[in-house]
């Protein structure tokens, strides 16, 4: 997994509102601009927060990018990071 490329995309999504908007409406064109493998693309498309974290993606970047790019709440982020079958901190 090219963790750097995922971190870089998350950093850009936080800083660049038009990019974050395009990520929500036309995600494939955004993903094409980063060197991501097929698994990474799928995880990002579905905002698989916990899976990305488990693969070493920086959690601060995940949290910062999640709101602008996914348009979801902090509660939704926390739920995705702590699925019911995975206790906190596991």
């Amino acid at each position: 997994m090219s963790r750097y490329q995922v971190d870089k995309l998350l950093r850009d999504l936080r800083r660049d509102q038009p990019l974050a908007a395009r990520f929500r409406t036309n995600i494939e064109t955004v993903l094409d601009d980063y060197k991501l493998d097929a698994e990474e693309r799928e995880l990002l498309k579905h905002w698989e927060i916990r899976a990305l974290y488990d693969r070493g993606v920086n959690p601060l970047l995940l949290l910062l990018a999640h709101g602008p790019a996914a348009g979801k709440s902090m509660q939704e982020y926390a739920a995705a990071m702590n699925p019911k079958d995975r206790p906190p901190g596991e």
Binding site: Y4, D7, K8, R11, R14, R15, R50, Y53, N58, P59, L60, L61, L62, L63, L64, A78, M81, N82, R86, P88, G89, E90
Partner: protein, 279 residues
């Protein structure tokens, strides 16, 4: 000759910039924290600094993995921020004491600290949020020093203390009459983004504050010297105690350390503390 006249270390949780976020705090905790900031502000005001040197880290808004220095000094004419808007952080523009900043960089490069430097270093909530409460008139020129306390691998806690001590000695060697205060921001324990987000380790926070207030530096820098050990006990945000240690290193013996306030603030998901070194 330069003189170190005071030091402050405090948390920089961005919520402290927002009146609405202060209202979310229980009354007793809010009053305690406000009182701590007020005392810190008065200590700085009484110290009459000509320059404020800040040790703060980043949140990937100024530095990223494409180019990530351990210690980065702003040496330009002015510092503007925030680098990325949000959290009700106001826009600020502050003069940089660039002549002294360049002196510190040169002393470092010739004396064993390989500082990176920037002519265009933006400010972050790490500086702006606490300064809203500490230097609200925005009338003290600064020298911003960004410490990598956010993107592993990081400089060790001991190294951060030693670099702070080096900067303190630079002030003593500075040939112009200049009163210098230090501000370090970040921490204390908090988890930002991982599964434990929202957790606070009050026991760790109180231990760390006790170490600094009793000058138990070897213990403060050594017990959790490994990145993984500090991460486990204080969270990914707890690495920011490096900024406090840098200030502790810069302080001369004649300035007395004192904890001004601490609250494990659940509404802000951060162990929030304030310390001062004053005469």
């Amino acid at each position: 000759m330069g003189e170190v006249v005071a030091g402050i270390a405090c948390s920089h949780v961005p919520f402290m910039a927002s009146p609405k976020q202060w209202e979310r705090l229980p009354e007793a905790e809010r009053a305690h924290l406000r009182g701590g900031f007020e005392r810190a502000r008065k200590i700085l005001e009484d110290a009459r600094p000509d320059v404020l040197i800040t040790f703060a880290d980043d949140h990937f808004d100024r530095c990223f993995y494409d180019n990530l220095p351990a210690f980065l000094v702003g040496i330009g004419e002015e510092a503007v921020g925030p680098a990325v808007a949000g959290f009700d952080i106001p826009n600020v523009r502050l003069p940089i004491a660039s002549k002294l900043a360049r002196f510190i960089v040169r002393e470092g490069l010739e004396g064993g600290v390989d500082f990176a430097f920037s002519e265009e270093l933006a400010l972050d909530h790490a500086e702006i949020a606490p300064m809203m409460h500490l230097t609200p008139r925005w009338d003290v020129p600064i020298i911003p020093i960004v410490v990598n306390a956010f993107a592993p691998p990081m400089p060790s806690p001991k190294r951060c203390f030693d670099v702070g001590a080096f900067v303190g000695r630079c002030i003593e060697r500075w040939p112009e009459r200049t009163r210098v205060a230090f501000l370090g921001t970040g921490g204390l324990s908090h988890w930002v983004g991982p599964p434990q987000t929202g957790k606070i380790n009050e026991q760790f926070d109180r231990w760390f504050l006790e170490c600094l207030s009793q000058r138990r530096i070897e213990e403060a820098t050594g017990r959790y010297a490994r990145y993984e050990d500090l991460e486990a006990v204080a969270g990914n945000g707890g690495h920011e105690i490096r900024d406090w240690l840098a200030v502790a290193g810069a302080m001369p013996q004649r300035l007395r350390p004192e904890v001004l306030a601490y609250e494990p603030l659940k509404p802000w998901s951060t162990g929030t503390g304030i310390m001062a070194w004053s005469s």
